[in-house]
């Protein structure tokens, strides 16, 4: 890959590793949770509870997956 493109790919890879890390499902769940919260709010449904629930559940899922990987 020629230099300008390889640099862009390297920067994108770095940002992905930096923000998302080694478990993309947690980041995806947060992203979907924020969209769901916005939709609930637009429809006048109380929505502040959704992200904390996603955080607690996804932490457990991610920890279990990581533990099983090292077993």
């Amino acid at each position: 890959m020629p230099p300008p493109f390889s640099w862009i790919v390297a920067v994108v890879k770095f940002l992905y590793e930096f923000i998302v890390g080694d478990d993309w499902t947690v980041a995806a769940a947060v992203f979907i949770g924020l969209i769901m919260s916005a939709i609930l709010n637009v429809n006048h449904v109380v929505a502040w509870w959704l992200i904390p629930v996603i955080v607690v559940v996804m932490l457990g899922v991610s920890l279990r997956r990581a533990s099983n990987r090292f077993r």
Binding site: F18, D22, V26, N41, A47, W48, V56, G60, N68
Partner: protein, 241 residues
């Protein structure tokens, strides 16, 4: 508005987590290859980090507070959850142990004239790589709380204090319980990330700012529960389904 102390403590602790690794690398390189080139390399690394903080801070200060809190909250939450999870796993596995072990760089001592570029590069790389996360946290957290100056003071203060300990007592810095600090910062970033992201969507928290300590309490209980579960699983007290 998020209090000055919350910003100061969070950025101080986040910076301390990375400063431990950073100082260990710089002290290790300096002690084995000589101090002059190592300190110049470390200073060059801090120069790069200062540019990152100024450029990123200036860019974020132009974004209106509503969208800014959504973006910053989502980023801090996603990033904070990584530290939250790693902190739980490491505290469950190692308790309050420091990073321990041998110094990471045991290169031969430099005796030649002029600049030792190996020492310069090792120190520069150590400061930039370990410091980028700190710069990211300081700028986003400071911008989200509208207190970038306080966040920078917290970040720089931690590097000065950990650096001072590192230079005065080389091995002591390796005994600071980095895993526990990482877990505390992960919990704090996830708490404020959750609060700001939801606020950024225009959703009101019940009780306003009083929701922050409640969220913090929920995440602390979550951390303690998962640490207990991880320890039991590691000891084979609870079979995996």
């Amino acid at each position: 508005m998020t209090g000055v102390w919350a910003v100061l403590i969070t950025t101080f602790l986040a910076s301390a987590v990375e400063a431990i690794e950073m100082v260990t690398i710089v002290v290790g390189v300096g002690a084995t290859r000589g101090w002059r080139s190592t300190l110049v390399g470390a200073a060059s690394g801090f120069g790069v980090l200062a540019v990152v903080v100024v450029v990123l801070g200036a860019a974020l200060s132009r974004v209106p507070i509503g969208p800014l809190r959504l973006i910053v909250g989502a980023l801090l939450l996603t990033f904070g959850l990584q530290w939250f999870r790693k902190g739980i796993m490491r505290v469950a596995a190692r308790g309050l142990a420091g990073i321990g072990g041998q110094d990471p760089h045991e290169a031969a001592e430099w005796t030649g004239p002029g600049m030792d570029w190996t020492a310069w590069f090792l120190a520069f790389k150590g400061v930039v790589l370990e410091g980028l996360e700190v710069a990211f946290i300081v700028v986003t957290f400071g911008a989200g709380a509208n207190q970038l100056g306080v966040a920078v003071i917290g970040g720089v203060g931690a590097i000065i204090i950990v650096g001072g300990i590192g230079f005065a007592l080389h091995q002591t810095v390796r005994r600071i319980p980095r895993s526990l600090l990482q877990l505390i910062v992960g919990v704090l970033l996830s708490t404020f990330g959750t609060f700001w992201a939801i606020e950024g969507l225009g959703i009101d928290w019940p009780g306003g700012d009083a929701a922050i300590p409640v969220l913090l309490g929920l995440y602390v209980v979550t951390a303690l529960t998962y640490i207990t579960l991880e320890r039991n699983r590691a000891l084979g007290l609870r079979p995996v389904a």
